[in-house]
């Protein structure tokens, strides 16, 4: 305030004199330069390296489900670095804990299917064990024809909201940012449907988007919802 007052007074006297004074003031004014330096040093920022560990590929349906659901909250190395030789029961109860204790969006069939997959690729189970085959009958839900698709249910059950918010970036881009990017793209819906169903990486950074376990109609409903934001 006092600076402003003195500047006004100076400006009203001699124009040239005031310019000189402003230069001098700017040069010697300690509060201003200190405040500026303080702004620079109050912010600390880190950039974390991306995870390079991926889940072992498998034709078991639990593979895609694990890609999609486990990585909402944690990287794959959490799973990769568990003890060797755990059986199907142990792995399935570890997945159940994710739902029970940490609120992971997993249905009972998701839990069984992911448990079966993990115990085959990391544990003692074999892909042709009868218990693995029966636990892997994870159906991709198909809406009855004409049935209304509840986008909020799809967002929750697929864990979309773990990585995406409407307004702000979490792990993935905000839905509003996606809508803005595709605003004038006439093929936007089909592009988003492909991204939702197949996953992808590189469009928004190096964090991979896992393939979502939804059918064409569900993906379309999600794409329409996102583009309306």
């Amino acid at each position: 305030m006092s600076n402003n007052k003195s500047l006004t007074t100076l400006l009203s006297s001699s124009f040239i004199g005031s310019l000189l004074t402003i230069v001098v003031l700017a040069g010697i004014s300690p509060p201003v330069s200190q405040a500026y330096a303080a702004v620079e040093t109050t912010i600390k920022k880190i950039t974390l390296p991306a995870s390079t560990i991926t889940l072992p590929k498998s034709t078991l349906p639990g593979y895609n489900l694990a890609l999609q659901k486990c990585t909402i909250c944690h990287s794959v190395d959490y799973i990769h670095h568990q003890p060797p030789g755990m059986d199907q029961k142990a792995w399935t109860s570890a997945v159940l804990k994710m739902q029970h204790s940490y609120g992971a969006p997993l249905s009972e069939s998701d839990i069984n299917s992911i448990g079966a997959y993990l115990s085959v690729v990391y544990g003692s189970a074999k892909a042709d064990d009868p218990t693995i085959i029966s636990a892997s009958q994870s159906p991709i839900s198909t809406p009855a024809s004409g049935e209304a698709l509840d986008v909020q249910v799809l967002l929750t059950s697929n864990g979309c909201s773990g990585c995406h918010d409407i307004n702000k970036t979490i792990v993935g881009p905000a839905f509003k940012a996606i809508a803005k990017k595709y605003k004038s793209d006439t093929g936007a819906i089909s592009k988003l449907v492909v991204s939702i169903r197949n996953g992808g990486t590189g469009k928004w950074g190096n964090m991979a988007m896992p393939p979502m376990n939804v059918n064409e109609k569900q993906a379309q409903a999600l794409a329409e919802f996102i583009l309306q934001q």
Binding site: K44, P56, H81, S161
Partner: protein, 414 residues
Amino acid sequence: MADNKTHLVQQSRRQFLRKASMLALGASPLLSLAATDNNEGVSLAGGMRPLVKYPGKRDLILVHSRPPHLETPFSVFNESLITPNDAFYVRYHLANFPTEIDLKKYKLNINGAVNKTLQLSLQELKSMAEPVDVVAVNQCSGNSRGYSSPRVFGAQLSNGAMGNARWTGIPLRTVLEKAGVSPEAMYVTFNGLDKPVLPTTPDFIKALNIEHALSPEPLLAWGMNGEDLPFLNGYPLKLIVPGYFGTYWVKHLSEITVLDTEFTGQDSYFMNTAYQLPDNDCLCVTPGSTAEKNRPISTLPVRSFITNISADDTLSSAKPIELEGIAFDDGSGIKNVDISIDGGLTWLTSTLGESLGRFSFLPWKLTVSFAQKGKATVMVRASNNNGEVQPLRASWNHGGYRRHAIESVAINVI
């Protein structure tokens, strides 16, 4: 003595190089360097844990990357009694934590059953009272979990999820007294800036009972070994609970709530459901069974390590060798550290070094001579003023928590 030590270091370096070159067969030299000698006996489903570089840290062992969990390579404990900031282990639970902190916006909130809620900037905290220092061990509840037998799920840690640092801050009770704690207060809870990814996941909140919170020990610390806290260890403020496991040492501390009720609800998960031990004399169960009752993990049991030799080292029988290591406990005070070089048949008393405080690593050393050539097992066993002695065999619990059995190092004598 110095000669002996150099000798040991050179031996283990040679051995390290030999192991590295064996691994390099069929792989690129860079790959083999990235994956050498850091499993330390812990076997994993998906193979070795790599060494990784994170902000403010030297190469540490990767436990998991999102959220970050990094283990200190054990050789660091032979470098100095104080664990350097860039080597200190890192452990988060929730992936939605800040990677940018602006001190202009940062506040510590004190609320709940208090006369006056407070919102303090770091600068206000720093000027509230004369800063105090404590050297204290921060050890993860699951340190050494990878050695559980039978194995248990969870981060498969070797012995490096611990560290010893000089923490600088003000006593927790200073801010509690300023806020004016209700006479009905029962617990004080602590929350940091880290958040769960999903709203259905519990937040990471820990609680201390009111007597403990108002005791002189817990600190609100901004300094670690004379510097700001490393970002990944909880910058700008961390709760320090000397003698207690690291789970209570809340990072990026932002909210302190005084409760005049029990701590319940979804966000009490990490206090009331996780980090629990069987509530019995041994704090253990027979594998496969469950305890009738559990209680939250709390203080550090007495523990000791040998830091200047490691498994498969080759030592000479030609001259005496000075063994060195560390011991620590919950602050009761280390009474003795005994060494056996014959697999536990006979024990020798080591010389304890200068104490940096009762919550710190305490150094010990002992010069020994190996009379016989061949394989030998060196063991270290500490006891404390509270009458605790390290057990020969580890007890078992579902979380693989609180391991503190006598450590053995199998070596070769030539």
